[in-house]
Symmetry: C2
Subunit: 347 residues, 2 copies
């Protein structure tokens, strides 16, 4: 067993606090990773606070993990000590269902999430990346692009793949007009990735506050829905809209911005299920779809793509002692655009 230092919450009412536990000894195909950085995802906060109602405690959050391979199990072929690697939202799956066989493990009916999930034994709690080391089966370990700064790569493991996957699946690229709703952790990655894919990217936000950032990140256009006439002006404009905001909005207004055969992809769950008018879909043969992170193969493809295009997240690096207070800033949207924990601070 490997002793581990971490920050965990003991319940939904507890703050993040130092927590010690052990990781399993290496099975033949396991990789031991010394964690260097871990991103803070809004879903960490939802789960720490049991806002999805399925939380398991004690909980070490964190699924945007990057680090260096320290040891490998006897049968590990893909990694060796010293390799720069990452771990995202999944650390195992059933390996046998159609989704696993298609490389879309995120849809497996028995996935093992990186934390707030039971390991395959059904009783050991998986614990996440706000910690100094992690043991993961090599099939769920990703290779990092060597030239990119590791701290800013960390958010690619969730925010990056969550936006890359639908952009690729719905064929963002040259000649396609892509609208990105919201410019937070997910939105800013979507802008960078869609632009690198060659699409003509617009950011759709409530106010003009984020216009300069949007343009700097690669957006060609910026539209503020708080301004009168925006929805009318943009009617039938986009081939693809990626909705990264999970507040209550009238989706029908945004569906009206799609061209014929356009698709609006939802990435987050708003508090209240929105009413969808059939007419919004029928006139223009439009689609409303959802997307969930991405598979392991696709996550590697995304990392390679980001390596090739020099794409990382815009981050604010913090010591782990500031993780708790950073949560309040995430909830307020007061971060450009992702907090990343420097694990060197975990003494």
């Amino acid at each position: 067993m490997y002793p581990v230092k971490s920050y965990a919450v003991a319940s939904a009412q507890h703050p993040l606090a130092p927590f010690s536990f052990s990781r399993r000894d290496l099975w033949p195909r396991d990789v031991l990773i010394d964690i260097r950085f871990c991103g803070i995802c809004h879903s960490d906060i939802h789960q720490v606070r049991n806002e999805w109602g399925n939380s398991l405690y004690p909980m070490v959050p964190g699924h945007e993990i990057v680090g260096i391979v320290a040891e490998v199990g006897k049968q590990v072929k893909s990694f060796k000590p010293g390799d720069k690697v990452g771990v995202g939202c999944l650390v195992d799956s059933c390996r046998e269902c159609p989704d696993c066989k298609d490389g879309l493990e995120q849809f497996c009916v028995h996935p093992v999430f990186t934390y707030n999930s039971y390991e395959k034994d059904g009783k050991t709690l998986a614990q996440g990346g706000y910690s100094n080391r992690v043991v993961v089966n090599e099939d769920f370990v990703l290779r990092l692009p060597p030239a990119l700064p590791m701290d800013a790569v960390a958010p690619l493991l969730c925010a990056g793949i969550t936006t890359y996957s639908p952009l690729r699946h719905w064929k963002a690229g040259p000649g396609k007009k892509v609208g990105i709703m919201g410019l937070g952790g997910l939105g800013h990655m979507a802008v960078k990735i869609a632009s690198a894919m060659g699409a003509e990217v617009s950011v759709i936000s409530r106010s003009r506050n984020k216009e300069a950032d949007a343009k700097r990140l690669g957006a060609k256009h910026y539209y503020a829905t708080g301004e009168a006439g925006t929805f009318e002006k943009l009617a039938k404009t986009f081939d693809l809209i990626i909705c990264t905001v999970s507040v209550d909005l009238d989706w029908n207004q945004y569906l009206g911005l799609l061209k014929r055969d356009g698709t609006m992809v939802i990435l987050g769950v708003p508090p209240k299920a929105p009413a969808v008018s059939a007419a919004s879909l029928i006139f223009g043969r439009r689609s409303l779809a959802g997307s969930l992170i991405g598979g392991i193969r696709e996550t590697q493809e995304m990392l390679d793509f980001c390596g090739k295009h020099g794409i990382v997240s815009d981050i604010e690096l913090i010591p782990i002692q500031k993780a708790q207070e950073s949560y309040e800033r995430v909830v307020k949207g007061d971060v450009k655009f992702r907090f990343v924990i420097d694990m060197a601070s975990l003494k």
Copy 2:
């Protein structure tokens, strides 16, 4: 001008009653059609009663028109007197927009519908098929499969194309499991067409009442949602669901019946916009889409397909004097599966 006999309504409060008017003289590319049969579509009733709030009176309903070419304009190349032809929901469009250029005239921003619509001059009311003759530009005239009975072909012009188009667009065919919600005018055509395309077809209805009909029409399976456990049993079953019912339903329950990457296509507008949970879409990367009749090229393709596979509508033939009372039976779902008016009754 050609004198025309018809049945029309004078307002939303009036019943169908005999009405005389004139059709225009033939322009060079016009076709004069002696109407033999016209189907009764539920949308006739919505429009006669102004249930969509956009009705123009006097209104001669009817957009499932079949007949024989009587005369043609000087430049008409595709048709000659004696040809068996049909006219559906559209009699013209702008011809210049991207939708028209792609052969998807139903999405044109300036379509001319067969009735309850202004002609291109912006002032002449288009009048539909509950009449003995109609004048239509040849580009909007369809060629009927010669071997099929004309009366039972009539409903293909709306119910047929409205179901064929999404089945083709979302690739119903061998190896695909297709669920058809509802077994009325649209549903019974969807079952026949999807079966002929080679898909494995299931009918999803509230009760067992329509099971024998569904099987006879080509469905392999029949499921009654009124029976406990149906939604659980069918979870993740279908590649494609075609929703032909426009009553208030919980769409999320049906989205749960889709496999990963499955699509549910809505054809009708329910009274109240249903609440759609993002989770229904995100888990399984599912899509909710809409579809509207079909383009002219595709309508001809559908007719040729039906000719090849011997597909017609199951109809109840009525004299035009019974059209008004047939409306009550349509609203109650008391018809197997489409009323068709025999225009020989229009003296």
